[in-house]
Amino acid sequence: MRFVVRSQVWLAAIAAGLVLGFASMSSASEKGKQLFVKHGCWQCHGFVGQGGLAGPALTPEVMPFEAMNNFVRNSSRAMPPYTEAILSNADLTEIHAYLVSLPKPADPNSVPLLKQ
């Protein structure tokens, strides 16, 4: 039931453009995006994995799934480990697919505001 409520919340949020991101996204990566939010990855890494004050960027160079799986399960530093009881292998696979699906960022030299 709790999952249903959460899914409804996030489907509604995405429909409202709250965690928009990028337009053309497959249904598989769309699911990964929901899971990325549901499991709290966004809290430190940002909604599109861009990184921030609390966590490093996960894109555009996405680590291989095996490496990500190993890190997520066994992290012993600032990031808390996610066991399979919290984050299933299937969900992690979807999250990885979402990160891989994100478009490459613009070259900063092509962004006028970043040229200064």
């Binding site: 991101g21 940002g46 960027a57 960022p105």
Partner: protein, 655 residues
């Protein structure tokens, strides 16, 4: 006490007869007469008339005396004393306990120098003084009401204390228990209101005569303005304020204020520090609250350039230009063999770190992040003014050379000693180090732009994008970033070219919520007279502590641009709950929000633009599409330049 002669006995008796005695009865105090029988036969009105106790609670139990008090009001003299210190503003929420001084300020003092500014909360009053000082270097005053106003103010006082910011507080208090009005005024009095903030004020007093007041006021100002700066507090008896000047007080004088010179470091310790700086292979200077003025920045640039030494700015003041190639990130500390700290809040955390990973029974790991052979020196004025209760002195960190002194004042002599210690063979080393720093600086700038490009078109809007979109609109102005949420600050502090001491005013001090809006508005008022354009990145959670601050900006014509960094949550706390959930192998309960229950500000989303509009601000938002932001910012900057406050609600990425 002075109250003894302050109020004519006749008036006092009338007051007691008219109000206090009536408190035991059930009659209403409107003067209307109603027979019990008639009342019993009537329908109850929709709004029941208040009883005497309720009226007393609303009015403070006071009825104004009709008799004029002869002689010159004592509080007029207090205004003369305050004027002698050239204080520009008094930020205050009005209260009966300082009505004597209030009346003198606006009538006798003509409400100029100082001008009484109306503020909707005492926490905001103090924070406005805090921000005002950091923009101008001039201490301001806050007036507050006895026990209750001071308790409202306490968090902001602690912020000022921890941020080493001077401000002068006066709290009204009615000391004479035999004569003060009953009811609320008595509840709002205390034997010693200063005790409420004594653990985090530099000095306090409770003057009992006018001469005592003037001496203590000037003394308080001097202590506040002698480094390390800090807030000071005077409790002011209502009776002393409301009395007339007595014949025996005809020789009252105002003590002359003579600024104290800041404490200077021991020359021998400075000479040893200079030798270590010159001869180290990888020296690093770390500065936190070093530069009090532009002269402090200039001195630090001179010192760093002499030995081509990287400088890490911990950002509670500008300290060092981020445009300078010797400006460095904290990573250089790991390889340093000598570290000079300048007014550091926390030397332990400068060279150590905490890993919040649940080890050691949940305490995590405390680890060193420095070379084992590193030598440490610290010039730190706060060593001269430490108290016991509040733990703002941080973890204990032994250093090799400790100089309890003001860093900015000590830099010129240190520079001279460094010049004397430099030998010809070191100059080559310095040149090589400088070349390496230029390369590292260029790489860091390029890396920053690459990171800014990540999520550039995302919605919610990235903080890097929000920062960059403002730049075209302010780059030709004399601008001042008066505040930023901790989550947003890293981007503007990297992206904007900062080389003036007022272009970034630092953080709150104690990281107590409720700082941003009032401190920004106080700073904006200070900047207004200096022709500067003020803007802030305002966290949504912090905003909600003191939203009423906005009204003061409109009421007193204070222009500034406030951008709400709206991440719809308390993001400092989001990960704490997530982390504990994971450690306990439990799925974090999100309820109906994005973050774990209790950490989100959603359902409903707060309409910050509407709030601002209701208090007279130009406003826009929520802005969710990054492509719209530039246009809205252009309009907002126009509004602010025309003299009005403007707020934009920006839906952001978390941090």
């Amino acid at each position: 006490m002075a109250r003894k002669d302050a109020r004519p006995d006749v008036s006092r008796r009338k007051f007691l007869a008219g109000v206090a005695v009536a408190g035991a009865a059930t009659t209403v105090a409107t003067g209307a007469k109603a027979s019990p029988g008639a009342t019993a036969n009537k329908r109850l009105p929709s709004a029941v008339m208040p009883n005497t106790l309720q009226i007393a609670a609303e009015t403070g139990g006071l009825r104004e005396p009709t008799t004029q008090i002869p002689g010159r009001p004592a509080s007029d003299y207090m205004v003369d004393v305050i004027k002698s210190m050239k204080i520009e503003y008094i930020y205050s929420n009005p209260a009966s306990s300082f009505r004597g001084l209030h009346e003198s300020l606006i009538n006798y003092g003509k409400n100029t120098m100082p001008e009484f500014l109306t503020v909707t909360h005492e926490e905001a009053s103090v924070a406005m003084c805090h921000g005002h000082f950091k923009a101008t270097g001039k201490p301001q005053m806050a007036l507050m009401h006895g026990t209750v106003g001071l308790q409202h103010a306490a968090m902001a006082v602690y912020n000022a204390w921890a941020d080493r910011v001077p401000l002068i507080m006066i709290g009204g208090n009615d000391l004479d228990a035999s004569k003060r009005p009953p009811g609320v005024p008595t509840v709002h009095s205390a034997q010693d209101i200063n005790a409420l903030v004594r653990d985090f004020t530099k000095w306090d007093d409770q003057p009992v005569s006018l001469q005592h007041f003037s001496q203590s006021f000037v003394r308080a100002y001097k202590y506040a303005m002698t480094p390390p700066y800090g807030p000071v507090m005077l409790a002011l008896d209502a009776g002393v304020q409301q009395a007339s000047i007595k014949p025996e007080e005809k020789d009252l004088y105002t003590p002359k204020y003579i600024p104290a010179s800041p404490p200077h470091a021991d020359p021998a310790a400075l000479r040893e520090t200079a030798k270590l700086l010159v001869n180290a292979q990888n020296p690093v200077i770390v500065a936190d609250r070093c530069a009090r003025t532009q002269a402090g920045i200039d001195s630090l640039v001179q010192l760093a350039e002499l030995i081509q030494c990287p400088v890490v700015n911990q950002q509670n003041r500008v300290n060092f230009p981020n445009t300078h190639y010797l400006s460095a990130g904290p990573a250089v500390i790991r390889n340093a063999d000598f570290i000079l700290g300048l007014e550091l809040t926390d030397f332990w955390a400068t060279v150590g770190g905490w890993v919040d990973n649940g080890e050691h029974d949940g305490h995590g790991i405390m680890e060193s992040r420095h070379r084992p052979d590193v030598k440490l020196a610290h010039i730190n004025s706060v060593e001269l003014n430490t108290k016991s209760n509040m733990q703002d002195f941080q973890r204990f960190m032994p250093v090799d050379i400790l100089m309890p002194a003001d860093a900015q004042a000590s830099l010129p002599l240190l520079i001279e000693y460094v010049k004397q210690a430099i030998t010809g063979d070191r100059k080559t080393v310095f040149e090589q180090r400088g070349a390496a720093r230029r390369k590292a600086y260029a790489q860091a700038r390029a890396s920053m732009k690459q990171r800014a490009a990540l999520g550039w078109d995302a919605s919610p809007i990235s903080i890097a994008r929000m920062t960059a979109e403002l730049w075209p609109h302010i780059k030709d102005l004399d601008w001042s970033m008066v505040n930023s949420s901790s989550g947003a600050a890293p981007w503007p502090l990297q992206y904007f070219p900062i080389d003036k001491h007022y272009q970034w005013l630092g953080r709150s001090g104690a990281a107590g919520q409720g700082y941003g809006p009032p401190a920004s508005i106080g700073a904006a008022l200070g900047n207004k007279s200096l022709g500067r354009f003020s803007f802030s990145y305002q966290g949504d959670g912090d905003f909600m502590y003191v939203p009423g601050s906005l009204w003061t900006a409109t009421h007193h014509n204070i222009p500034m641009l406030m951008m709400i960094h709206n991440n719809r949550g308390y993001h400092q706390e989001v990960m704490h709950v997530q982390r504990l959930s994971n450690r306990r192998n439990r799925v974090a309960n999100l309820g109906k929000t994005m973050g774990p229950v209790g950490t989100s500000i959603e359902n409903p989303d707060i309409d910050y633009a509407a709030m601002a509009k209701s208090m007279g601000w130009w406003s826009a938002g929520p802005i969710k599409d990054p492509a719209e932001l530039g246009t809205v910012l252009a309009k907002a900057v126009q509004v602010v330049r025309a003299g009005e406050p403007a707020l934009i609600d920006v839906w952001n990425q978390p941090r």
